[in-house]
Symmetry: C2
């Protein structure tokens, strides 16, 4: 009974955060009454009503643990989600993954056109930095600037964009587990870590234990993604399933096999819990999110 | 004799700044010894040894006028040039202008591949924000954060990326002069203005007269670009000439005719000089740059 209540309570908390973030994104994205209307329409299409908002949920959970103001978390969560949305738009383009379906809808270059998709990604990245810079997110100005820097490092050539480049080069190759981890820590892990750390930083410097949690959850997220890509259906995922193996991309499933990949994800989930041990009950949402990320759909 | 000396002196100053900026870019761009090597190689290819560095020259001229430290100007000039380089890489891609030649070399997607070009642009944009955030550029922390915000606004959907989107929509259409200005103030003007303002802000808040100068020079730059595209050769430009008219793009030449476009550029040049009147001799470099931008090659 207690478990069921906790689960219902977690679902309700997720719903509240998701609605807050949707409203914050609505406010932050330029409206179609502003020129260029079509670009703004496509930026909204790419960002609004999409996905589970895993990164914003992590931002809020870490921020609530640290005691951050919700209005600051709105800004950080929106910026991180815009970066994520930009990366999806560019990754889906014909010269990258050439995908037509995302979050159950046609991808931006299909619904609009390729040139617009390119500019949507470019402008969403810029807007994320604008948001982070134009609101007061930390009492200490140096910490605020550190947040800008941290987001940039997470997204750049040694973070998310770099992970994507490694992914491109790895297609058709056999990678070791260490090489796969090197890739995914950048491609997915860096932004997920940033989501956690930036949430905490809205209240002050981020505790090292939270960084450890973020690293493990970020990696677990990708391992589970690989398993789902191999095992789930396109309808369940809202994006094209099974494409990693068809494209010859190394994944945790191709490198370790499905059984060991699931065990690895479980190990990372437990490691994430361990990292939170010192926080006691305050870290409930972060624990629940680690479970949610790893236990979704398998 | 005095005029010749001044000209030689200006050329020497440009050479010094260009060499400084090249060195600063060399230092700021990740080396190919870091993974992913191919992405870093392509980022360097796209940015180094290229162009006249008009934006960095403006940053230095404005910064020297305001009394800024040269080491700060190195950072701002590098960031602005990275944003410019990113925009060229993305604009040259097949889904945009589909161009094969830039700064006398094959474009990034030709020399590398399209996916790499996409990621090069993405990562150069991020690196620009990282640079601006990680060095101390203003004594006042609020002014420093304002510099991040200003750069973001200049690049985003209501700045450079927005201007590019308007440009796409305008292809094949007849625009009025006011509509053309609306487009170019965003597409080229916004980043050129930012280059001037950010240079001055390294020493303190930017004087309104400098903003006026920046606006006029930014617009003049585009008018001259349109004239050169119509009249100069590919060899002189180092990029494909005459492509605007072939692509049916409205330009100052197509809207006003070549003679009136040149007269408009001259008017803007004089307006830029007028904006500088209050600064006296200190504004010599900015005056020379206005002349350089407008009087180059016609």
């Amino acid at each position: 009974m207690a478990a069921i209540e906790t689960e219902a309570d977690f679902a309700a908390w997720m719903g509240v955060v998701q609605a807050r973030v949707e409203a914050a994104l609505q406010r932050s994205l330029p409206g179609t009454q502003h020129s260029p209307a079509r670009l703004h329409e496509a930026m909204r299409y790419a960002t609004l009503e999409g996905g589970k908002r895993v990164r914003p949920l992590l931002t809020f959970a870490a921020g609530e643990l640290a005691g951050a103001e919700a209005s600051r978390l709105d800004v950080v969560a929106s910026a991180v989600e815009m970066i994520h949305a930009y990366s999806l738009v560019h990754d889906d383009m014909p010269c990258m993954d050439n995908d037509v379906l995302r979050r159950g809808k046609p991808t931006v270059h299909v619904e609009f056109d390729e040139a617009t998709a390119l500019l949507v990604g470019d402008a969403l990245q810029t807007l994320a930095f604008q948001l982070i810079a134009e609101r007061r997110l930390a009492d200490d100005a140096a910490l605020h600037m550190e947040m800008v820097r941290l987001l940039a490092i997470a997204c750049g050539s040694r973070g998310m964009a770099g992970g994507q480049a490694i992914d491109l080069e790895a297609t058709g190759k056999q990678l070791s587990q260490a090489e796969l981890e090197h890739m995914h820590v950048r491609k997915t892990g860096a932004l997920i870590s940033a989501a956690v750390k930036l949430g905490a930083m809205c209240a002050g410097p981020c505790a090292p234990a939270l960084e450890q949690y973020a690293h493990r959850v970020g990696l677990a997220f990708q391992v589970v993604d690989d398993v789902l890509d191999a095992e789930a259906s396109t309808a369940t995922l809202g994006k094209t399933a099974g494409k990693d193996s068809r494209q010859g991309k190394p994944t945790y499933v191709s490198v370790m096999g499905s059984v060991r990949a699931k065990a690895f994800a479980e190990e990372l989930r437990q490691g994430a819990h361990e990292a939170l041990a010192g926080f006691g009950a305050c870290a409930l949402r972060l624990r629940q999110l680690a479970d949610f990320i790893v236990l979704r759909k398998f």
